[in-house]
Symmetry: C2
């Protein structure tokens, strides 16, 4: 389950303009998310899908998630157990899909200062990333209702829980 | 009401990184949307709020809508009758809020080629902008369910209609 506060997360670095075809390759689109996830980022980081551990973070350059509206481009990262993506900016559609499927995106103008394999901590509600050397990077504030949704596992999971609890949605 | 197909829309130009405080100035936050809308973009285009006509479009540079999550930054433009915003990229939060409140955002890598006061047509479902000189600019595809939502007047308006029609949501 995604949480908005994480300690000691390992950084995987990719560049700018990582597109949805790199995240969810076209040749896997007939298959389930287990297969899509195995091929996630194979064209830019062939070591990623097999090596990523639950709780790791993906750090990218600007315009992460451009391309198509395929939801698997976000849900593959959820399936792999990623704690968050950290980038200076995202495609608008990707941002929408990601929170809906329970993937936390942190918008951090200085994301690219983070190094490959570095261990970081973050608190999305406090709006900061803490580096191993004690340096802090600011992240753009995320409204509480979106953090609640992502922590609940996404939009559908949150609606199901609320209906089960008979709370007003 | 927003439609995904518009003819002869007049272009209002602004630059890159137009933020939510320019769209919905802090000093208007205690007031209703009528007041917020009157001050929309006053710091970057003082002629905009008084001059904009229903069906006009706002054309901007990259990272439109960065800043806070205030929804008024999108609903002020809906209140002013804007047909669409056209920009190369948006803040993820702004993209989410805009469609939710019924504001159409077109993602167009070459948006900044459009000129002040030029008349354009667009068809969001077909994915193109037609200039007065016959030139076509591509816009990134938007999923049909998002266009349906924006045409219905946003998320809440769409849910209300569906509930009233007793369709499954």
């Amino acid at each position: 389950m995604t949480t908005s506060k994480v300690s000691g997360a390992r950084v995987w670095r990719v560049g700018a303009e990582v597109n949805t075809d790199a995240l969810a390759p076209g040749h896997t689109m007939k298959h389930g998310i287990e297969v899509v996830a195995k091929h996630c980022l194979e064209s830019v980081r062939p070591d990623f899908a097999a090596g990523v551990q639950r709780g790791d973070v993906l750090v990218a350059g600007a315009d992460f998630g451009i391309g198509s509206s395929r939801e698997q481009a976000a849900s593959a990262l959820v399936h792999l157990g990623l704690a968050a993506v950290i980038a200076p900016s995202y495609s608008g559609l990707y941002f929408r899909n990601a929170f809906n499927v329970g993937l936390l995106l942190l918008t951090c103008p200085r994301a690219e200062e983070l190094a490959e394999s570095e261990r970081i901590s973050f608190d999305a509600r406090a709006g900061s990333i803490l580096r191993a050397d004690g340096q802090t990077l600011a992240i753009d504030p995320i409204p509480g209702f979106l953090l609640d949704m992502v922590e609940a596992g996404g939009l559908l999971a949150q609606l199901r829980r609320r209906l089960a609890a008979k709370e007003p949605t």
